[in-house]
């Protein structure tokens, strides 16, 4: 199969690539990472100016109305530059989710502000004991009169602290593992009774556990019908998974390039270590893993918005299983071939390593997705 970007997609890729190369150096990453908030408003405004934040927003809300392929074309550069800003969380996942509710006036207005870079929204869905099961929701929403009261605990919500709006799933009926009975609510981050326990993640981004302690919100904050939000949440997370695969491929490409350059310059035993066959074979193996992951990231981008849910999830699980295994191999070998240098904080290699380690664990690790693939293939 011939996979080529259209002129438009290529242009988009080049634009973001150039912007991040010029404006988001490793030194910049380190400075933002060391700042209290962990993200940079100026960098975010720059991305808005390029139109990247409008990528997935419908034309009706002032967006570009693009989809997963255009997202893929920019994710590689986001990975390579170790972008700390909430692009994946807000401009991909939350945008995809809100798009499903664009007939809601408040959601449409939020989308328009997100496209312009004036608002950030983040989905808060997973819970402490849900692991990667999206239908496991214990957080409750109890209706009284024309308002809801939310109580519960959301786990490891990426970029929650940067968000103005949180899109919080909560159960309005049924048991924790029921697919039905899950509703979605738009909640301001500074709502009374909403407590954020913020921390950095291993790869330098910011996340939080969210405690909902009697949060009162009006009925009009509910997105879509009561109890029927899970299909839209799954669809948005799957689009996020597709984008994450593309981001990981960008990191792996950067690590392979850096490792090739390193073994060509590092001298030992009177020659460049890249002359040794054992290391040449290792690099060949890294390249094979990278190319397998790249092909699977294309499959993920092509299928992640498929309406046929079982086909979509089969393709995504296949992709995440392969990409996850490649993440681990390429990251570990890159550090090994760099030797002790590969472990230092001063070298970007260790930060790429950490980003890939996090990527393997997000939205389900390789083992989880192998199991899902097996189950979907049997059924």
């Amino acid at each position: 199969m011939n996979f080529e970007f259209s002129d438009e997609q290529q242009q988009l890729q080049d634009t973001v690539d150039r912007y991040l190369t010029d404006r988001y150096s490793f030194e910049k990453f380190r400075a933002i990472n060391a700042s209290p908030s962990g993200w940079d408003k100026a960098a975010w405004a720059g991305l808005a100016e390029l139109g990247v934040l409008a990528l997935n927003v419908p034309v009706a809300q002032g967006g570009l109305g693009f989809g997963p392929l255009e997202t893929l074309s920019v994710m590689g550069a986001c990975g390579r530059s170790l972008l700390l800003e909430p692009f994946l969380s807000s401009a991909v996942i939350a945008t995809a989710l809100l798009r499903a509710f664009a007939d809601d006036a408040a959601a449409a207005e939020l989308l328009a502000r997100m496209a312009a870079g004036d608002a950030i929204a983040v989905l808060a869905h997973y819970e402490p004991d849900s692991r990667y099961e999206t239908q496991w929701v214990r957080t409750r929403a109890q209706k009284s009169g024309d308002s809801y009261r939310l109580d519960g605990h959301k786990a490891v919500v990426l970029h929650a602290g940067a968000a103005d709006s949180l899109l919080i799933s909560a159960r309005t009926s049924g048991e924790p593992s029921d697919a039905k009975g899950i509703s979605l609510f738009r909640v301001p981050r500074d709502a009374k009774g909403l407590v954020l326990d913020q921390y950095p993640t291993i790869d330098g981004r910011r996340a939080a556990d969210i405690y909902l302690e009697g949060v009162q919100i009006p009925e009009s904050s509910r997105l879509g019908v009561e109890g029927g939000a899970l299909p839209a949440i799954d669809a948005a997370l799957d689009i996020g998974l597709g984008a994450l695969c593309a981001e990981a491929v960008g990191v792996m490409q950067a690590l392979v390039d850096a490792t090739v350059a390193y073994v060509q310059s590092r001298q030992q035993f009177g020659t460049a270590i890249g002359r040794f066959q054992a290391l040449q074979h290792r690099i060949a193996d890294m390249l094979i893993h990278l190319e397998q992951a790249r092909s699977m990231s294309y499959l993920a981008a092509l299928r992640c918005s498929d309406q046929n849910v079982s086909e979509r999830r089969r393709a995504l699980s296949a992709a995440k299983a392969v990409v996850g295994q490649s993440c681990r191999f390429v990251a570990q070998q890159a550090v090994q071939l760099h030797g002790g240098m590969g472990m230092t904080d001063e070298l970007i290699v260790s930060h790429w390593f950490k980003r890939l380690t996090a990527a393997e664990l997000m939205f389900g690790d390789s083992d989880t997705h192998l199991q899902r693939y097996a189950a979907l293939t049997r059924s």
Partner: protein, 68 residues
């Protein structure tokens, strides 16, 4: 890390200190033992590097023991 899944991601510097206890007022964000797993995994990258990398050890084995 695979066993604790999403809770391998938080990096809490204070959790690296001996005797650290999570905030008892709320349900803890993940099991206590999860907090140090990722840091340990990253630190263990050194084992196949220091004191002569695995590759160097294999060179020695093939020369000194096997006699190639």
């Amino acid at each position: 890390m695979g066993a604790v899944g999403p809770y391998a991601l938080p990096f809490r510097r204070e959790a690296m200190e001996a005797g650290w206890q999570p905030d008892p007022a709320r349900e803890a964000p993940g099991p206590k033992y999860a907090a140090t797993l990722a840091a340990a995994y990253m630190n263990q990258r050194k084992l196949s590097i220091f004191g002569g990398t695995n590759e160097i050890q294999k060179n020695i084995i093939s020369k000194m023991i096997v006699g190639l």
